[in-house]
């Protein structure tokens, strides 16, 4: 009976197919946005790429990634995505996903079992600890790891192995912003949020190609200008970029010479009477960087910075500086935004301070539409590494290793002895890789990042990395780093694991696990717990069964601090579109402006009539710094007469491990190139698409010329994305003495026809 029924169905199936061929192909039946929802389950998560923190819905059908759409409910992007975010689900199943462990045998990476790989890591690490001490080991993490993963690694290396050699790629990207926030306001991260954008009428964008690096923020700026015709944008950058489309005044500076401009603007604000004297009296101290100074001392210091002096330094018109100052002063609201052009500099911290100065002078801070707002490059640089304290001098919850009380508190939460945490900061990133070159660091665990492409002055550091016992936990292979690893551990990618990301605006958001890990890949947390157990620390780690267990312990480190996350439980985060700390209790809605009466830690008694009280500073006052203006480490010279700067394009992200897998995105800029100003090209005899050789003191690169009116004359720019053309062979590894962040943004080069 059942057979005949089946045959009937088969016949029907056949007839249908034949009919279709005879008539019209069924493919004409269009599949439609709403109809497609059938059988698709959408999971609320956060974009894996830049630091904006866009809400994303990941569609899953039959256990496989199916599609992606913007999360309409998310306050950050309100359903909008950028071109990179569109392809997230395809990155999950990209061809370069690593699906099994690899170990190096006879010089080659070969497939291995998890047990074999972990045994190699354990015995080698144990060996190194025994022979050379814990400081011969290092952890190098990422602003892309989830908070739980970074927290666990920090806990294992600082609290159990006993080395402070714990760093992460935010050192290469955000460290100067951290230094700026801490020195000016007393605590890391912005005072306001994205919400200020819709209240702001004057934006100062400096050293950020917002349109390409943070497209959804740019979209909000576009929208803001549309909604408020009086809204103006000042742009300080060596290049004309797609950001210029909405810019009203562009100060196209020489790379590395913008500090004097900020002083000149401050001077002009004072001269024109745009300062908020009451705010300065209430909430501001002055400092020359070493000692306190007076407001008058500061004014005297500024006298040198006439618009003419600053304009000459930067190679712009003095009138534009005066104009910028007036625009900033006249507008009742002002928001500054900056990114790598400010941070990746030997004077990165100083420049951050000088931006904050403008807001402190005019009191344009801590109220709607006003903020000194640093843009971030990675989705969890703020959450995992800055808040989680996973740099060599930090501990979780805005604590430092040098403070005995801080070590005690954290050791107790970590269930380890306070003596285990060293009081001396470990090596910062560049020093760490330098130590590897010298053989002082013998083993390194790299999580979710690609330093063999992203470090500056690569020729100097690559040999050391090759000699070091390198463990790379990655979702993708090959990357420049996994290629030279000794053990590559396949770890779950975004969407295959649960966790929390903290974005630019102090907002922590939950990422759902939507599908099972690909191949043999495992969640990083599971791998780190396994490693801890194998190293003999079972007792300290065996209770971590899920990301939520780790998050709950992490919350304890934040309780009662300025970044209190106690109210951001998993339960709550799964429902809401993130929470902006401080959020001390589960019924607290989160905080828009810190250090004001809306902040749960605002001490009303101490503050009295003061609008803002920076309670993380002893007297509640922020600091205006009289910093000297400092040029780049490597100014142009007769031998290297051209300024080289590096940058990003809209369609690619960092080292292209993810975006490079998407043919559509690759189409936008198919080959590596160097941007050359048309006037320069003409005088150098270079035509568009010619091969040129760009040389710095550190190396040279043959690359295609893109002759385009973007960089100012005498400056060239190379995006650093392509692994087949390593821009960082050219960049300089000089670091900011305060933040230890390298000066990727300025070097001296020469350009010749190849």
């Amino acid at each position: 009976m059942s057979i005949s029924r089946r045959n009937f169905l088969k016949a029907s199936a056949l007839t249908a197919a034949a009919a279709v061929i005879g008539v019209e192909p069924l493919t004409n039946s269009k599949v439609l946005a709403a109809a497609i929802q059938e059988g698709v389950v959408w999971h609320k998560t956060v974009c894996r790429l830049c630091g904006v923190g866009c809400g994303v819905m990941l569609g899953v059908k039959d256990g496989k990634p199916f599609g992606i759409k913007g999360d309409k409910e998310n306050t950050i992007n309100k359903g909008i995505l950028c071109v990179k975010g569109f392809y997230l689900h395809r990155m999950m199943t990209a061809k370069n996903r690593l699906l099994h462990p690899l170990v190096r045998k006879d010089g080659k990476l070969v497939k291995a079992s998890w047990d074999e790989a972990m045994n190699i890591v354990t015995s080698k690490f144990k060996d190194i600890i025994q022979k050379d001490g814990p400081d011969a080991l290092a952890f190098y993490g990422s602003g892309q790891g989830q908070t739980e993963e970074t927290y666990l690694a920090n806990r294992l290396f600082k609290g159990y192995i006993g080395t402070n050699n714990v760093e992460g790629n935010p050192r290469l990207c955000m460290a100067s912003a951290v230094g700026g926030y801490i020195s000016s306001f007393g605590a890391d991260e912005p005072i306001g949020t994205y919400q200020d954008i819709e209240h702001c009428n004057l934006f100062l964008i400096i050293g950020s190609n917002t349109a390409e690096a943070h497209p959804v923020v740019f979209d909000r700026l576009v929208q803001r200008k549309k909604d408020s015709p009086s809204c103006k944008i000042i742009f300080i950058d060596p290049r004309k970029t797609p950001t210029n489309r909405i810019v009203d005044l562009h100060l196209q500076v020489k790379p590395g010479y913008d500090l004097a401009i900020m002083h000149a603007i401050a001077r002009q604000l004072i001269k024109d009477g745009y300062t908020d004297e009451q705010f300065i009296k209430d909430s501001v101290n002055f400092s020359n960087g070493k000692d306190p100074i007076t407001y008058d001392d500061y004014k005297a210091f500024l006298e040198k910075y006439t618009p003419e002096y600053a304009a000459e330094q930067a190679g712009i018109q003095p009138g534009d500086i005066i104009k910028a100052a007036r625009m900033f002063g006249e507008s009742p609201t002002a928001m500054s935004m900056w990114c790598m052009g400010v941070n990746q500099r030997v004077s990165g911290v100083f420049l951050n301070n000088l931006i904050h100065n403008l807001h402190l002078l005019t009191g344009k801070l801590g109220k709607p539409g006003c903020d000194s707002f640093s843009l971030t490059g990675q989705p969890n640089a703020c959450g995992g590494v800055r808040e989680g304290g996973a740099l060599s001098h930090l501990l979780p919850g805005h604590r430092v290793v040098a403070n005995e009380q801080h070590r005690k508190v954290i050791a107790e939460i970590w269930k380890t002895s306070p003596d285990k945490i060293q009081p001396k900061p470990g090596k910062h990133t560049v020093a760490m890789f330098e130590a590897a070159t010298k053989g002082e660091i013998k083993g390194m665990y790299i999580l979710c990042t690609n330093p063999a492409q992203s470090l500056p002055n690569l020729n100097k550091y690559l040999p050391g990395m090759k000699d070091t016992f390198l463990v790379v936990a990655e979702s993708f292979h090959p990357t420049e780093t996994s290629k030279i690893a000794d053990v590559v551990l396949p770890v779950s990618f975004w969407g295959e694991k649960e966790g929390v990301y903290g974005c630019t605006e102090r907002r922590s958001q939950h990422l759902a696990k939507a599908v099972n890990p690909s191949g043999e890949s495992r969640w990083d947390g599971e791998v780190l717990v396994d490693l801890a157990k194998r190293l003999g620390y079972s007792k300290g780690f065996e209770h971590f069964k899920s990301p939520e267990d780790i998050w709950n312990e992490y919350l304890k480190t934040t309780a009662g601090t300025d970044m209190d996350l106690s109210g951001a439980t998993y339960d709550r985060l799964k429902k809401v579109r993130g929470l902006v700390w401080p959020v001390p209790t589960t019924d607290h809605p989160g905080t828009w402006h810190r250090f004001t009466s809306g902040d749960p830690y605002f001490p009303k008694d101490k503050a009295g009539n003061r609008r803002m009280y920076f309670y993380v500073k002893p007297d509640g006052k922020a600091v205006i710094f009289a910093r000297p203006d400092k040029g780049p480490e490597e100014p142009v010279s007769a031998e290297y007469p051209v300024a080289l700067t590096t940058g990003r394009i809209l369609e690619q992200w960092h080292t292209m491990t993810m975006t490079g897998q998407i043919p559509e995105l690759n189409r936008a800029a198919p080959v590596p190139y160097v941007e050359i100003n048309p006037e320069d090209a003409k005088s150098w005899g270079i035509k568009n698409r010619d091969k040129v050789k760009v040389t710095t003191k550190r190396g040279s690169l043959v690359i295609e010329a893109k002759v385009i009116d973007r960089t100012r004359k005498g400056t060239v720019m190379i995006p650093w994305h392509w692994p087949e053309s390593l821009t960082n062979i050219l960049t300089i590894d000089a670091v900011d003495p305060g933040s230890f962040e390298p000066e990727y943004k300025v070097a001296a080069c020469k350009v010749e026809k190849a």
């Binding site: 999360d71 359903g79 497209p215 936008a668």
Partner: protein, 126 residues
């Protein structure tokens, strides 16, 4: 002997979608039907760099549109050209941003977002 036609149709539609929209679908159905294939060109040149010379009006119209303002490139709707190409443009990525404007086309006589919106200026033309 009755067959649950409705549920069968649903599955069929879902299946069609799945296959038609599967990420690894190298040759999308629309391009087969129309027989449209992007001419073999120098693929080391980006879409806009070439089309600025080949179809300047289209690039201009896109550039002045909201999509142009935020640099939503040709490839979003047309594919990369070499591996996948949709001459009319595919709706695949529309809901990436316009999730709030999802349309149930079954209830209309339309088949695509581009039936109403001009693909380059994005202006509503019906």
């Amino acid at each position: 002997m009755k067959v649950k036609i409705y549920s069968i149709l649903c599955i069929a539609v879902a299946l069609t979608f799945l296959l038609g929209f599967s990420h690894s679908n190298k040759y999308p159905s629309s391009s087969i039907i129309k027989g449209d294939k992007h001419p073999d060109v120098d693929w080391t040149v980006s879409c806009t760099d070439c089309h600025m010379d080949v179809t300047p009006e289209i690039v201009k119209s896109w550039n002045e549109s909201r999509h142009g303002a935020v640099n939503f490139g040709c490839y979003i709707c047309h594919g990369d050209g070499e591996e996948v190409f949709y001459s009319k443009g595919t709706d695949q990525r529309c809901s990436g941003c316009h999730a709030g404007q999802e349309v149930n086309f079954e209830k209309t006589k339309l088949n695509s977002c581009f039936d109403c919106h001009d693909g380059h200026s994005l202006k509503f033309h019906i």
